[in-house]
């Protein structure tokens, strides 16, 4: 659906508006930036209870092997295809397991970050479920289609999709997310972290992934668009669940030390520079065979020139995206890529790229805010410890 300004609407649009959301344009969509409680309270609520986020603007698709589905061979085949574009170990993913990964360009820069999931069901082997960023989805899907043409078929979860249909994506995040979701989708409470399992709600097929982008335990639930609003309303009747906007989503992921594509990662940053070297699979480090492998493996071995680090300003003033990082003697050594106020930290937090020579934790630096140097130090991330479900 599209409004008068040409912005697309998600299936939860009416739910947001009824809840008093402040809607803003984001990646071509009209999205809730905050609800009546405001960013600060929404952030804290998610860390203590459970927050419901509409992430339906993100791109969902299945990448399908050309081999008959339902065999390990079909999985290996489609995994080999996507491994030509990502540096992760996809082939050895267990059934129902998911990986955070990145699409790479020939220079080893990051085109997007994404989730890649191997389905649990035997009859779905040979499919990979992909979730990509809203702002990148058209380019990502075009790249996958072009590059893997003849090797694998991309089925975007939109109105043209026969298998999966047009799908919404709802994240439920926070320490009480599992108990709340369990009341309407039994079985999720014991689902492993970074796993996906099918579930059902009132006849609607759910793809439930135990993952998220807040640093808390939580889930992302993919559901057909026509059932999404009712499903969200059902979750919101639970007293521990409140709707949360993009504002708090950003402050939550920042405290969790997680990258926002287009800010903390882009086409010039490699996974090693981005401090997400864990996306490089062990076998892939040995064999290469992904775009930009020369640069990336060289950086992995010898260290990158610059590195994404956490930055902890002293005092209360936040340093925001674009602020220059200087050494104490005034030399430019980097730039802040995300920054703001961390409500759980009750302090400003930031991250940015800094010359490797200055990247050691505890290094004192200046962040240039309103033309004045703000004292800060290089800090370990996450700022707020992750609290993922470990069984």
């Amino acid at each position: 659906m599209t409004d008068s300004a040409g912005l697309k609407r998600t299936p939860l649009h009416d739910v947001h508006v009824a809840l008093g959301a402040k809607m803003v344009p984001f990646a071509g969509y009209e999205m809730p930036v905050q609800f009546a409680d405001g960013v600060l309270k929404e952030h804290l609520w998610t860390r203590e209870n459970a927050g419901l986020f509409d992430v339906s603007h993100m791109g969902q698709a299945f990448l399908n092997s050309r081999l008959p589905l339902g065999t390990d061979e079909a999985h290996k085949d489609v995994a080999a295809a996507i491994e030509t574009l990502v540096p992760g170990e996809i082939s050895k993913l267990k059934k129902g397991a998911m990986r955070y990964s990145v699409l790479l360009n020939e220079d080893g820069g990051i085109l997007d970050d994404l989730m890649i999931t191997r389905p649990l069901r035997d009859d779905a082997q040979g499919r990979l479920f992909l979730v990509v960023n809203a702002a990148c989805k058209e380019q990502d899907f075009a790249l996958l289609r072009e590059t893997l043409s003849g090797r694998a078929e991309l089925e975007i979860c939109d109105a043209h999709s026969k298998f999966a249909g047009a799908r919404a994506l709802i994240a439920l995040q926070g320490p009480k997310a599992a108990a709340a979701l369990e009341t309407i989708a039994p079985g999720v409470a014991t689902q492993a972290f970074m796993s996906m399992a099918p579930n059902e709600w009132k006849g609607a097929y759910l793809i439930v992934s135990r993952c998220g982008y807040t640093g808390e335990d939580g889930f992302e639930i993919s559901i057909r668009e026509e059932s999404a609003a009712d499903f969200a309303r059902a979750l919101l009747t639970h007293p521990d669940v409140k709707p949360i906007g993009l504002g708090a989503r950003d402050s939550l992921r920042l405290e969790a030390g997680l990258c926002l594509y287009g800010h903390d990662l882009d086409q010039t940053t490699s996974p090693v520079e981005g401090n997400i070297s864990f996306v490089l699979g062990k076998r892939r480090r040995e064999e290469g065979g992904f775009p930009g492998a020369d640069r990336i493996l060289k950086e992995a071995a010898r260290g990158p020139k610059r590195l994404r680090v956490g930055l902890q300003p002293e005092g209360r003033a936040p340093a925001r995206e674009g602020a220059e990082i200087q050494s104490l003697d005034g030399e430019k050594i980097g730039v802040v890529t995300s920054g703001g106020f961390g409500p759980t930290m009750n302090a400003p937090v930031a991250m940015g790229y800094i010359d490797a020579a200055h990247a050691k934790t505890g290094t004192r630096v200046h962040l240039i805010v309103r033309d004045k140097p703000l004292a800060a130090s290089v800090a370990d991330m996450p700022f707020v410890p992750h609290r993922y479900y470990r069984g």
Binding site: V39, L40, H43, A248, R316, A317, P318, F341, P348
Partner: protein
């Protein structure tokens, strides 16, 4: 009488001194205020010059001097506890008091009725 600027500051004149803050509308738009930076007492500003900074979780905003003059007092309470700005933006959570250098500047500012129309 309280006057307002297009940048959502308010000014309350008492003699040749004015108390200055941000409007309730501005505080609402900003959301939860987490940081306030005020000028030093004795600093002089021209009308519309950047005078203070107020930051919410979301963004930083400049506060402009609604009138020219010299800062004679600042409200340390909102620096120590920025959330107070949201609680009472047009009362206890004033930002600065300024000694006016040109009272005529006030005449061009909006009264409450005109400001209400602006933000409607």
């Amino acid at each position: 009488m309280k006057k307002y600027t297009e940048d959502h500051e308010w000014v309350l004149l008492e003699g040749d001194m004015a108390t200055i803050g941000i409007s309730e509308h501005a505080a609402g738009q900003l959301g939860d205020v987490v940081f306030v930076e005020l000028p030093a007492v004795g600093a002089k500003f021209k009308q519309k010059a950047e005078m203070a900074v107020v930051e919410s979780v979301k963004a930083a905003s400049d506060v402009y001097a609604p009138v020219s003059g010299e800062i004679v007092a600042v409200n340390q309470a909102i620096v120590d506890d920025p959330a107070k700005v949201n609680a009472d933006p047009e009362g206890a959570s004033w930002f600065v008091k300024i000694k006016l250098s040109n009272k005529a500047e006030l005449e061009k500012l909006m009264d409450a009725v005109a400001y209400k129309k602006l933000i409607a």
